[in-house]
Symmetry: C2
Subunit: 145 residues, 2 copies
């Protein structure tokens, strides 16, 4: 199995609310948007964020599980270049309808971060990590490595 992530799918109880948050609120542009069915948003080279109904996602998994509910064991992170950008992005997310779960602050690991929850409760960390760099070709490096 190659070392590759292609999609992150969020099962949401209210697809319209999720679309409003990510498309209208954050201003993200979808690759494919089928109202009432599914919305795909590109969030990295080769990687899509997919908004899908919680019941439909459970049905797709197909083992009789109940509709998916947040937050589970997965958090998503959006890294930025400075502490000031962390503040700005958390404020923008809140204006778009997010709930601030952790206000921006120094992180135990040495950076600066905060968390918000999208309307479905999915957790996003917004972080400035001075020890992490992304090369122009997308290779991620740690100062400590």
């Amino acid at each position: 199995m190659e070392q590759r992530l292609s999609l992150v799918t969020l099962g949401v109880p209210d697809l319209d609310a999720a679309r409003r948050f990510y498309l209208d609120g954050l201003g993200w542009t979808p690759v494919l948007d089928v109202a009432g069915a599914v919305t795909f948003i590109q969030v990295a080279p080769g990687v899509l964020l997919s908004l899908f109904g919680a019941a439909e996602l459970a049905a797709d998994v197909g083992d009789g599980r109940p509709p998916m509910t947040a937050p589970g064991n997965v958090t998503l992170a959006h890294n930025v270049s400075s502490p000031e950008e962390v503040d700005a992005v958390l404020a923008a997310a809140e204006r778009a309808g997010a709930t601030i779960v952790k206000p921006a602050q120094r992180a135990a690991w040495g950076g600066y971060h905060g968390y918000f929850a999208d309307p479905a409760g999915t957790l996003w960390e917004v972080a400035h990590n001075p020890g992490l760099a992304v090369d122009p070709d997308g290779t991620v490096r740690f100062a400590e490595a």
Copy 2:
């Protein structure tokens, strides 16, 4: 807020089991691996998969929530180029210690797919989607779009 995913963090109850599955089992190479603390694996340009303790992740979110538990509302997907590759990847994941949740089969949306759960219960879909293409620069396109 820019349209960007930087990390997907999995909160796991047994970090050693997660490391064994992804590093030894699947053969993935970490960018940074601090035994007993955290493991970062690059899974797309600019994107890391992070393995972290479920209790430590809850503490990092910092609002007093209990340790994160799978599966929640998020599924991850690994796309491949053919139905045969779906079969092969699911078999490889099972040999590495995954639980097959949905055996490989035709999908309602027209492709071919299956699901496995990692040792923490995180759901991965393995899929061949003939309607989706990734350009050399990482741009994702749908045939339907």
